[in-house]
Symmetry: C2
Subunit: 264 residues, 2 copies
């Protein structure tokens, strides 16, 4: 497998995100990798890159030198030349970045209806991502898991029993409704969108975090797991990326494997 990036286009997109973990930055990486788009993963590629991440979310920042607002939290995307008066544009919030890149990289459907469905489905997949996070941090994002473990056991039980089937069932129905065009491989229309890459990563993360729960359920959602999940990860661009050392392993981010939170 090649670990070299394919290079297709300018502008030189810069991802501002924490190093090492996949985290929410991964949703942005996947759209670049799926389209062979050159980008700079700034904190993973340069020693001082973390400083740019910290700077865009600095608690004292009101507006940056290029006229951009501060980021509430990473990920952020910097696009030199695309901001006010030819300066750098900085965007934050994963769905906003995906919406921007979806238009630029042709990952947002074929017309206005599809464009908005893609955003809707990506937001729903990101809601599932966020609910996964809250299984291990149901009380405080700033406290240790060990200090909210009792509550985490309760929240994870509800998540596994009620929320996972609700989300999986929803996406199975979307794939079914779009099957005449998408053949079970795409949520919207005939081609890959950022809704597909976003949902794929959440499913991949859930397989890591809740392996027993997902294994017990996946046969109930054949389009989602047999058709969609396998076809997305085999796509040119994504396949090479997922086998490369640019794909960061899960650790202590959104998707964590605590066996006690999984199905027993």
């Amino acid at each position: 497998m090649s670990s070299a990036k394919k290079v297709r286009t300018q502008p030189p997109y810069e991802l501002l995100y924490w190093p090492v973990i996949p985290g929410r930055g991964e949703f942005i990486r996947l759209v670049f990798e799926a389209t062979g788009t050159s980008y700079k993963d700034i904190s993973n590629e340069s020693k001082d890159g973390i400083n740019a991440v910290l700077a865009c979310k600095d608690d004292k920042l009101t507006v940056d030198d290029d006229g951009n607002p501060p980021a509430f939290a990473p990920p952020a995307l910097r696009v030199p030349g695309e901001g006010k008066d030819g300066k750098s544009l900085v965007l934050y919030q994963t769905p906003a970045i995906l919406s921007y890149l979806g238009d630029k990289l042709d990952l947002a459907g074929e017309d206005e209806a599809e464009k908005h469905w893609v955003l809707s489905h990506a937001l729903t997949a990101l809601d599932l991502n966020n609910e996964t996070h809250d299984t291990h941090h149901p009380i405080s994002v700033g406290a240790y898991y060990e200090d909210q473990k009792d509550e985490a056991l309760k929240r994870a039980t509800d998540f596994r029993e009620n929320r996972i089937p609700k989300f999986f069932g929803y996406f199975e129905r979307v794939l079914k409704g779009n099957e005449p065009q998408g053949e079970g491989k795409h949520l919207v229309g005939k081609k890959l969108s950022y809704a597909d890459t976003t949902l794929w990563h959440v499913l991949n993360g859930l397989k890591f975090a809740f392996p027993k729960e997902v294994e017990a359920r996946e046969k109930d959602y054949p389009l989602l797991f047999e058709s969609f999940y396998t076809s997305v990860q085999e796509r040119s661009g994504l396949k090479e990326y997922l086998a490369s050392d640019r794909r960061q392993p899960y650790s202590n981010g959104v998707f964590r494997h605590y066996p006690e939170l999984d199905r027993q």
Copy 2:
């Protein structure tokens, strides 16, 4: 005060949301009201309207007669004539609906940079909305508050002490950075956007849900509470709406007043 709607434009937008509560549907209502746009609040305006809400999120629906995917949850927006082949378009997910209407109703800034900042800030305000919800439902959205009250007390404490100042401080900085153009009245640029209406409603809801906490803190965020909050609610369109019987009172939705969760 008039309780009649101003009427400006077609198409005949239809909001599909639960009756009686403000809920997430309120973010959509506010953009219509702020722009004097005609819309049908279907479950509040017609006896059978609730059936359309239930139908768009039906657990068996894969695709509707007009080619739209099911909604994961309300709110949804139906726009007759704007879908595939001149059929009805149905969108779901609050930020996706706001993004769509922002373009149509001129509430999304003046250029591409501003458009994406508006979406980013609206998403952040909606994150605060969602975290507010989780203060009374930290374990299970499907269970009663009374059955998760111990955990709610812990989560609400963290929310009040850590999350509220983080979000308020962030928006204060955004208003400060944009002050040369927005004069403390707008998050982005020179004019009203759906980021403004969205943040306003979340602040209004927090004043209802956590009155002591907000009162104790608001002096620390003068642009947010003295300039921004008061100016948005005085705007033509919004002012009349907020005084009308179309504005639903808070009850058992996202924003609930449980005195025990507020600052003691």
